[in-house]
Subunit: 289 residues, 2 copies
């Protein structure tokens, strides 16, 4: 079921990681206005560098939608002090997301607990998943009264050890069912094609999330063959093998009407002038998504 | 549920890819005898280089169990000629597996169809999965009367585009249910920890495969953090983050009593003298699996 027409240009959003090497946050906001792109998804480190209040004002003045805020999560730790530090940092992320007027806070949930040097300190994957469940549940108590939806982003299974031990949309949906049954968008999911395109259950799980009002954001890029680096070799839409129009059709059939956010971590695209990256994103969005 | 005792040394087997850079097939057979390892899983190219009949004789004379034969599969193609070529090649693989006395023929099912240069020629992942289903079904008609079990190996989702579009044990179990309902080991699965360790449904799907008499082989290595190369940076058991003893416990609880086969694709271990590799495999098998 591919959609018959190109996606709505007004839904296009840019995740700021896509041009993090080229531009500061003020430059990104200006560029989005220049290119007529109406949405932005800022990363915390880029916001911190530019200043939270200055960034919030610039985004507001430019009339941009903040389609998500990247990111909270990293709930796993080796001890109680680490878990408390994660809790406190996640509360700050909720506060920042509120200040920016973000539609949701992305949760990249963390992998196996790490030692002080960043190496895995445990092999207990089930235990890590338990910490993630508890961490999301506790953060929900803080975010829900504040009105900030939390969006669980399942990451590709190749990141299970070091970045996120939630690795399928089914697993994210199960967490939503367990932690916030019947509560719709207070706790939802992000569908990033890079992470989930391979999943034989994808159509079914998108429909399941949509029926529960839990589709909070949709991230675009492409899967290159070969993929030379797991983290920083994502492709521009149309350059890889993901059936983007088909997955968009599943999202639309599930009732999703939110943003289509381009997030490309790529050593290659980070070397291209930012205006060329945005022009390419717009063209590919119209022609290959 | 971790098993209380180390695994049975007599179940240890060596996949010949582990020492493909160091040794010829005759040298591998001799080395296994020298190290007291009782099983072997040969690759087709290594067998072809040494000669099928010579290899079969050496393995028989050495009294080794052939725990699987690597590999058939690659069922996807862009046209009918390509599909016929895959069919013919897979039948030859069945014949070779029979000549070697292998317990099963591994199926790495193929990813998206490729053009003549090996690049993806399609984005139709669902279509590729249909070709795989049809290809396995047709091969089963050839292999089952001959008495050679076919073993579907789900590959890690990061290989969905270029190597295998069966990416979870659930998907492999579903294929078995569809193509060979109630037929037990004529069509089964291989559990390779490298490909499935991350799967939140792993324990359940191992139990499901075991209940249907479909656990045909068990492959060991480890997942390194970081993994620097998707294909050739697998770890020696104990050097990574996979809970090997726990997964073995799930296999044993599901009734599996077959081989524990070490298969390590690793640029690092291919540079180590073969006798040191085998000694390390034995030590780690006893202490970390």
């Amino acid at each position: 079921m591919k959609p018959p027409s190109p996606p709505d240009p007004s839904l296009l959003s840019l995740n700021t990681a896509t041009v993090r090497a080229q531009w500061t946050m003020p430059q990104i906001v200006d560029a989005l206005v220049r290119h007529g792109i109406r949405g932005i998804a800022p990363w915390r480190d880029q916001v911190a560098q530019a200043g939270l209040m200055d960034t919030a004002r610039r985004i507001r003045d430019a009339g941009l939608a903040v389609t998500c805020y990247c990111r909270g999560g990293m709930f796993t730790a080796t001890d109680a002090a680490g878990l408390r530090a994660a809790r406190d940092d996640n509360r700050r992320a909720v506060d920042e997301a509120l200040a920016l007027g973000a539609r949701c806070l992305v949760l990249v949930v963390g992998g196996l607990p790490k030692d002080s040097k960043g190496a895995p300190a445990s092999r207990d994957l089930g235990g890590a998943r338990g910490m993630v469940r508890d961490g999301i549940g506790a953060l929900l108590d803080y975010a829900k009264p504040a009105g900030m939806p939390l969006a669980i982003e399942p990451l590709h299974p190749m990141f299970a050890a070091d970045r996120a031990c939630v690795n399928t949309l089914a697993q994210a949906n199960d967490l939503c069912d367990e932690l916030a049954p019947g509560e719709g968008p207070a706790l939802g999911v992000i569908v990033d094609v890079y992470h989930v395109w391979w999943d034989p259950c994808l159509e079914r799980e998108i429909a399941r999330a949509g029926a529960a009002q839990r589709l909070l954001d949709y991230h675009l890029c492409d899967w290159l063959v070969p993929t030379k680096d797991m983290l920083n070799d994502r492709g521009m839409m149309g350059d890889g093998v993901i059936e983007l129009a088909r997955i968009r059709g599943w999202m639309e059939a599930a009732g999703y009407r939110g943003a289509h956010e381009v997030e490309i971590f790529s050593e290659r695209w980070w070397k291209v002038p930012g205006d060329d990256v945005l022009a390419t994103c717009k063209a590919r969005y119209a022609g290959a998504c």
